[in-house]
């Protein structure tokens, strides 16, 4: 069904449009003036001003792998983050820990762990899904590089960003 919306009837002043134009000009001039005299609050001037010290704890920056206080890379290459990752930024090649290793009990570790930071959308699903508390979104946000390859964070880089995480569950102990 067609509905005809009637145009509003305008009186002669409105039809002249000039008062409306004048009030519009007054509004824009007011904004111009306020900005000129520094009365308008403007956005943060990023490279000079940074918010780093104010970043909240829940800030979602670059995902990174962490070690626990025992020095173990917490990731066991379960690949759940690879599975959940919406943009498929994560690629893991699992490996087996040799029996002679200090952490042989864990059996599995990520031989390669790549996060393509061009693809990453900082959603934090990897952190949420991780059953081992091994991947966390840290506060690094200025991820840059000159090539596509530069933008892929390999395991070493991820561990470097991640550092040591205290206060996580140490479940690969004897009790298990």
């Amino acid at each position: 069904m067609t509905i005809t919306v009637p145009r509003p009837k305008l009186n002669w002043r409105e039809r002249l449009y000039l008062p409306a134009i004048a009030s519009g000009l007054a509004i824009t001039l007011k904004h111009f003036k306020n900005m000129l005299f520094g009365r308008t609050k403007v956005t943060m001037q990023y490279p000079e001003q940074k918010w780093d010290s104010h970043l909240p704890d829940y800030y979602r920056g670059a995902p990174a792998l962490v070690r626990d206080s025992g020095g173990r890379v917490r990731c066991v290459a379960c690949q759940l983050c690879e599975f959940i990752c919406p943009p498929r930024a994560i690629k893991i090649i699992p490996g087996e820990i040799p029996p002679s290793d200090r952490f042989a009990k864990v059996e599995k570790f990520p031989q390669e762990f790549d996060i393509d930071m061009i693809r990453c959308i900082y959603c934090g699903m990897c952190e949420e899904v991780c059953p081992e508390q091994a991947i966390f979104l840290r506060k690094d946000y200025a991820i840059t590089g000159f090539t596509r390859a530069d933008m892929v964070h390999h395991k070493e880089k991820l561990l470097e960003i991640g550092g040591v995480m205290h206060g996580v569950v140490l479940k690969w102990n004897e009790k298990k």
Partner: protein, 599 residues
């Protein structure tokens, strides 16, 4: 079985509804037939029921009988049930007349929760590294029937981890829930009683008998039936999580049995093959030999580019050039100067196109290479060609497959044959030497892997392996089954049927076959046994199209020729085996060596 009239039907009440089941049905199956799933670990329908996991507990009862031995009726006119005070396992119990079953009563739920809590007491919390995670009934039932939290505060029992039970099976005893499926499988199916439990209580462990190892050719089936991650495939262990795998239904092509399989792939890499249930072919099992026989598809020396011989060397070419060159070489000779050696590993579609090619060129000498091994009377067949029967039907020759090979070989030696087309086989199987092959004016080879024939070929056409193509095959018992594409072919390798189709067109046998379905339709029009079928009608379970008795008996002289051909092959393979062994890296299992296809 439910419809067989000879077996009397019994009335059984399940969750308040009366059903009829034939005598001899297990209660757990009766429940499943009416759509009620009872959780179970030790029970497997292809194995005996020891009833030791206690997961399938139900409440059971019988009608209360009055003094007249008739069921007493309640106020609602239905029989009053006398419920047994304790739960019963339903996996070891057959249905009985008047039996009543409750699968969702509070008692049953409490029992399930309790049993699961006991099973989980010593089970490690290592799902993130466990290969079974994602297809693990212990995980699934924990969510469905178990507690959300553990009340267990003590230390878990330590047991051996990463035990090599056999060359292909690794055992993690801590994960074992002692269901004994693997033990029963070895006893009942593989007829190789090597596994057993030792020690008592919480310390019971699964182990191989002293001095024995789980090395039979069916050992990997124990990994499939293991409800937890205790038995793991050494080949698949820690390679890929199961939820990534794309599962393609296909069939095994390592022998004439044609076991139904599921090929697990991710991003064009095959990670595992598992059996798919088909009671007409392979029940729920497959042999380790067939299961692991996929690695050659990822061999580093895989043929990836079409090649043509130019000034004594093989140089890469594009497809139109290679096909054109092959057709040009073939058209130089009369039909009587050409021989085609096809393979029993080719699909029906490819074989049909091969016959069309032979007809187009006027070739009379065409045969496949027979391939024999030892049968084990379980699944592995004596005939190691997956499609001998298909070749027999489609090639339509009067003699048995392989009977003409020796005459082709001698014709090559005598110079009567100047052009040889070798499809998916090694010309050396004919008993020809490398020098003799090198002197052929035209040697056109289609294959996946390089061998002496490809090295001396005038044209090399890289083709697909079984997991990279679609098609159909007829197994040793005359069942028509389908192959499906699980991965894309690597490099410039092409689907075999497309190569043959293009070659056929280039040699003048012009036609317009655009899809493999069309090829199959042409087969169904020309070969009576395939009549009325199409690729989609074959279905996942296959269709029986042939009684083996229908085939003409092998003539004694054919038999002799085939035996001789196989004799040559066996000798060659023994030499090959020695060379391979010398090269094989340390630690490679014997099955892997055997699994490598003869080149």
């Amino acid at each position: 079985m439910p419809n067989e009239p000879a077996v009397p039907l019994l009335n059984v009440q399940i969750d308040g509804v009366w059903h009829q089941f034939p005598k001899g049905t297990r209660v757990i199956e009766a429940c499943e037939q009416v759509g009620i799933f009872v959780p179970r670990y030790c029970y497997h329908k292809k194995l005996s029921s020891p009833g030791n996991c206690r997961m399938c507990l139900i409440e059971m009862g019988f009608p209360r009988l009055g003094p007249d031995r008739k069921p007493e009726l309640g106020a609602d006119g239905k029989p009053i049930i006398n419920w047994m005070p304790r739960p019963q396992i339903c996996c070891a119990q057959d249905v009985a007349e008047g039996m009543a079953v409750r699968t969702d009563s509070p008692l049953v739920k409490e029992c399930q929760r309790g049993v699961l809590e006991f099973l989980l007491i010593n089970h490690p919390l290592d799902c993130p590294i466990c290969d079974q995670a994602g297809e693990c009934p212990l995980q699934e039932f924990s969510v469905d029937y178990g507690n959300s939290q553990s009340r267990f505060l003590e230390n878990k029992v330590k047991k051996p981890k990463a035990v090599q039970l056999g060359p292909r099976v690794t055992l993690d005893d801590e994960r074992c829930i002692l269901c004994s499926r693997c033990i029963r499988f070895c006893q009942e199916i593989a007829h190789d009683d090597v596994l057993g439990f030792v020690d008592r209580g919480s310390h019971t462990v699964l182990t191989a008998h002293p001095g024995r190892s789980l090395d039979n050719n069916y050992s990997l089936n124990t990994v499939d039936i293991c409800p937890v991650g205790a038995l793991t495939s050494t080949d698949f262990r820690f390679k890929m999580r199961v939820w990534f795998l794309k599962e393609t239904k296909s069939i095994c092509t390592s022998c004439a049995t044609g076991c139904n399989t599921v090929i697990g792939t991710r991003e064009d890499v095959i990670y595992r093959q598992t059996p798919r249930e088909n009671d007409h072919v392979n029940s729920s099992w497959m042999c380790d030999f067939g299961r692991l026989n996929y690695k050659y598809l990822e061999a580093p020396d895989r043929l990836l580019e079409p090649q043509i011989r130019s000034e004594g060397r093989l140089v890469p070419a594009d497809w139109p050039t290679a096909i054109g060159q092959a057709a040009l070489q073939l058209k130089q000779f009369a039909g009587s100067e050409i021989a085609i050696v096809a393979s029993g590993r080719m699909t029906n579609e490819e074989l049909w196109l091969t016959t069309q090619l032979a007809n187009s060129l006027g070739v009379k000498r065409i045969d496949i290479v027979p391939r024999r091994g030892k049968a084990d009377h379980i699944l592995l067949s004596k005939d190691r060609n997956p499609n001998t029967n298909g070749a027999r039907l489609i090639l339509g020759s009067s003699s048995a497959p392989g009977a003409k090979l020796l005459s082709i070989a001698s014709a090559v030696r005598s110079g009567a044959i100047k052009a040889l087309v070798i499809l998916k086989e090694n010309a050396m199987h004919l008993g020809l030497s490398v020098e003799e092959l090198g002197q052929m004016p035209a040697l056109i080879v289609m294959n996946t892997l390089p061998n002496e024939a490809t090295q001396n070929a005038t044209v090399v056409l890289p083709a697909c392996g079984f997991a990279e193509k679609r098609g159909s095959m007829v197994n040793g018992k005359g069942r028509l089954q389908r192959l499906n594409r699980a991965v894309r072919p690597p490099g410039n390798a092409r689907d075999d049927w497309e190569i043959l189709r293009d070659l056929l067109q280039a040699t003048g046998g012009g036609n317009s076959l655009h899809s493999i379905e069309e090829v199959f339709r042409r087969i169904s029009e020309t070969v009576p046994q395939f009549g009325g079928l199409s690729l989609s009608k074959i279905g996942d379970a296959g269709v029986h199209i042939l009684q083996i008795e229908e085939l003409p008996p092998t003539q004694p002289q054919d038999q002799k020729a085939i035996e001789e051909a196989i004799e040559i092959q066996t000798r060659r393979r023994a030499v090959h085996e020695q060379v391979h062994e010398a090269r094989a890296r340390v630690g490679a299992s014997s099955i892997e060596r055997e699994a490598a296809p003869p080149r």
